[in-house]
Symmetry: D2
Subunit: 354 residues, 4 copies
């Protein structure tokens, strides 16, 4: 089976990672890549990694080549997906959206955090949230609809919400975390998370040898994490930028119920049970901590668990590649699920970390 796929917004960092994954995918056939700014340019002239490997050129966003796709991946800024998605769905093309436009179930929450009206609430109500390990039912439901010939929409989870929720959800769902307690999330992302546009912040000479927090108390991934964890108003989220390209580590500190276990091994056991069917997630032995380098370039997530006493708090950490499991890898995983393929098709690669 060959499923024709297009990537809209293929020149950005998440887009090009989707291109890389789809170009090597056993079942998807990458047939169109678009870029508003680079239409007409050879892919290999922008990303020389493809020199000698691909003759693709960036097309315009409205190129008719997209019409022949079975699925498009939208790697565009928020609000752009609001505009683009309906047309694809109408033409019978399923949409895997990497933007934030269809992630928040409540349009009011979207409007509060993104400061724009949500113009596609009908479509929003039908979208599946794309985080297979934690919201697999939604994906199964749209996969069933797609199997009947319907074009469907998946709103893939963001990078910070993916790592943070994978770290926190099993403890929350098992009832170990104190009701109503704050969920403190300190996360660190590589600079690819800041996007391809050259700015002072992404300049090597300012980003290198530097760590800083940003968007403290205001980052738009906050309500998304709260939605996944079912913890409205409880997430205190502080993202940081560190001098690496790919990689994201989320450190989540959770107040445990008084009667929750105080040995890390119990949590390791619980998490392994929770992720038993999730081939991309590894829960490390107690006493081990995940390294972002060990998952960079892959779709994998590594989780570490430790207890801090006497405060009786769980410190759960999760490392992912923000462009892999945090963006394009997850999108391909979701697309595979939607199209009835094994979820790890084309995603077997491991990190290059020596």
């Amino acid at each position: 089976m060959s499923i024709k796929a297009g990537v809209v917004g293929a020149a950005g960092f998440a887009g090009i990672e989707a291109v890389r994954l789809l170009a090597a995918h056993p079942s998807f056939e990458l047939s169109a890549i678009t870029s508003s700014e680079l239409a007409g340019t050879r892919l290999a002239d922008v990303y020389p990694a493809f020199e000698g490997v691909s003759d693709l050129r960036f097309l315009a966003h409205d190129d008719s080549a997209l019409d022949e796709c079975d699925v498009v991946f939208l790697a565009v800024p928020h609000t752009a997906a609001l505009k683009a998605a309906p047309g694809f769905i109408e033409r019978g093309i399923s949409v895997i959206d990497l933007s934030a436009d269809f992630r928040l179930k409540d349009p009011a929450v979207y409007e509060k955090w993104y400061k724009v009206p949500h113009t596609q609430t009908e479509l929003l109500s039908q979208a599946a949230f794309g985080l297979p390990e934690l919201m697999g039912d939604e994906l199964a439901a749209v996969a069933a609809r797609r199997a009947k010939g319907e074009a469907v929409l998946v709103a893939c989870a963001g990078c910070y919400p993916t790592a943070t929720s994978l770290a926190a959800a099993p403890a929350v769902r098992a009832g170990f975390v104190r009701e109503g307690s704050p969920i403190v999330v300190d996360a660190v992302s590589g600079v690819t998370g800041a996007g391809k546009k050259p700015t002072q912040r992404t300049h090597f000479c300012f980003a290198d040898a530097n760590v800083e927090a940003y968007g403290v108390g205001t980052h738009r991934h906050t309500p998304e994490i709260e939605q996944i964890l079912g913890a409205p108003g409880r997430v205190v989220f502080t993202p940081h930028l560190a001098p690496l390209g790919r990689g994201l580590l989320s450190t989540v500190t959770l107040q445990l119920e008084a009667d929750a276990p105080s040995d890390a091994a119990a949590y390791v056991e619980e998490y392994r049970r929770a992720y038993a069917e999730s081939p991309f997630v590894s829960v490390l032995d107690a006493g081990h901590q995940p390294r972002t380098a060990s998952v960079a370039g892959s779709n994998r997530a590594h989780i570490g668990l430790a207890i801090s006493e006497p405060a009786h708090m769980l410190v759960a950490t999760c490392a992912i590649d923000n462009l892999g499991k945090g963006a394009a890898g997850q999108a391909v995983q979701c697309a595979s699920i939607v199209f009835g393929l094994p979820q790890n098709a084309g995603l077997a690669g491991v990190s290059l970390s020596v």
Copy 2:
């Protein structure tokens, strides 16, 4: 006035930074540097930065040149300072200790975390804690004793405790932080914090492009932070390693009292009041976050303050150079105070961050 200074353990990262600062200091005269492993070796052969600048050689730890010093800086592992400090004090030589041996006021706490008996409790009871911005009274007291001719001991604060306490103390002391609430500390250090010894962890190919947590729930700086903040059992401390040489950022999340202000500006004001007499501390305007690169190579600390609602928590961040304000810079600052010099003598340098 020329005060003769020696550095014991000068070949390690904190030691060599003390050497660099003392070699350029207007009042201290660097007269002896020692290393157990490198005795006899030219300083410039180990650290070529000193090539053409200094003809110093590392001496043995027991070299008689130390006897002529007015002050020695101990940059040795813990327990080694326990052994070395008494002899210097007996010979009338003041000691600025960069190790952890005399930081914890309660020997039982030391023994619990360091797993060795504290053999110098008498000396411990007379030591000043070296964190001038928060524990200035102790330093003033030993400075007065030293002015009368007594040899005194300063136990300089550790790197994480310095950044964390500078970030948290004014809010705690002003009564803004809820009594008994956990103090969540997620901090990131550069690789110099892992020491000079080559290990797999400090190997470029494992440390580069990687972020990871370590020592979760067990790091020995935990009780030190609790002591400074007067918050026993409340600190949940998760240190991380990131791919930079120098630099440390501590992100502290504090549960505010219900009636504490909810605008960051109020905290900025309070912190500026608290640090009005502290020339090395800058409290940034609300909405700004400190960058480790902007303090690397200096003795400065930059603090950022933000509020996360509706959880009503303060996120206080502090950036320092772990070898500067977090080790050797602070040691020189303390030494200056002890010897009646301006505390910023020899410490005016700013970061090289372009």
Copy 3:
């Protein structure tokens, strides 16, 4: 067809890269990995990238599991391959040697540069040099012998010789380079080239933010380059270390014959002709220069060509991944050729450079 493969010395950087490539290879089946120091340890405990992906454990070098292999990859230090190779060959197991032991055709040259006797001159005389793009005939010859059931030995080219020769050979072979003129090679390698052993040199805090030359005039890859280019005594080779993990750029400056073309485009044309059958080599348009990041993690080589007038010299640059095309990728490529597979089997991956 499944060909059983083993990796001897699998814990080093070249070895683990071979493991990564063979584990995902469509025709080789990775059945044994060995390490002298880590025998018994789980692969994933040393390289967490394999966590959740592989249950392999390192075996001892003499483990009988190797006996069942069709081919072994030797990723061991020089002289160790001299000792290990004959036994495998005798047992009918072909050997792909990543070490330097069988690269130099003349044992006297080996002995001069490596300061040890060459104890396997008979085997040496039968070995093929593993650089398919430039010495394809030797590989074809051993492939023919292997097809008849013989166990054969391939001595894969080193990292610097690979990049340097790919950059220089077409110009030399076309007669553009002045007879007897010096061949100036300045090359830069990432720190993986310095090996896995932690040393002061590979310590993050010494390797980061630093560039330095090393082994000037004495590096053992010098005679290997001279052998490939047929230019004894003419190579002036200066390797450098730069702060990156993977990646190697060789810049070769060649004195052109007076009547050789003076426009870069003529050389681009010649090089593209020379590499027309080489799927891993891309010759960039005149005016473009290769980036190591664009080939890191792949088996590809990118070549740039420019002319410097009035000195009438060709500056040819070649970027490879020192662990990929410079080591394990090349080894897998050679093994595929030897076993009659397409040379790019299992090597289609492109760089992760965003």
Copy 4:
């Protein structure tokens, strides 16, 4: 003595380094800093390293505060210095020019390489070339003129020419290098050399983990090196970019005369003689190579010397900080010479390399 100094173009990387050095200088008083784009902005808002240290604001280029200066440092792009310098000289203000506008003695060479007419040939003829170690006589001459009250102009050497000439000149001047032979220069610069403007090239995600050559055969520092070495048409110059902020290493390969010595020690001796009066230059022992990290942040230059036989070529390497000895440090050194101060005034700092 307090000499009033201004920095024109203070917001760029060379400019801000001049600001940093002058702010801490014992004899110069930094009284005005200008920026065309950032006039009115606080210095500390652009470079937070100055937070709590300096209240300076960027002024417009034509601010009258410059009129009161004794000396201005021009850290502006080429052609801008052509326009700005004459006005300062006319007003009696000496000019230390960090741009390329007055470096090339022959206006025709300037026009050939910079593609614009040289509009200030009279001023050019009076300018001193600012490379004290090799062209000290020119500086002495303008210092004498300035001592008589004349405003003078110094054209500071560029970064690559400084490192390259320091590496090559003593051998060339001693007659060791074969007449007319090509001088092959492969040099590596950190990303600060690419300037402050954010571009794809300076984006962390493209610059990190990457080495590449650029400007091969066309870089404008080529004629400057040829001028210093008195070797017109002989320099083959290939600059490279590597993933570090500050630091530049130039590797120069020189064909020796047949009767020139073949042991490195002889060159070390000759170089030490040549630089005996140069406090910033260290010639390392034979067998040692300079590290850029060991000079970063300082005004120092480290030189390594090795011989490659049988080609009988000298490989001379020189490491500097491209913003220090390669730009602002050298400018301050030249200014000190011009104003009769010790040339190392304010430049005693050593690298922070641990």
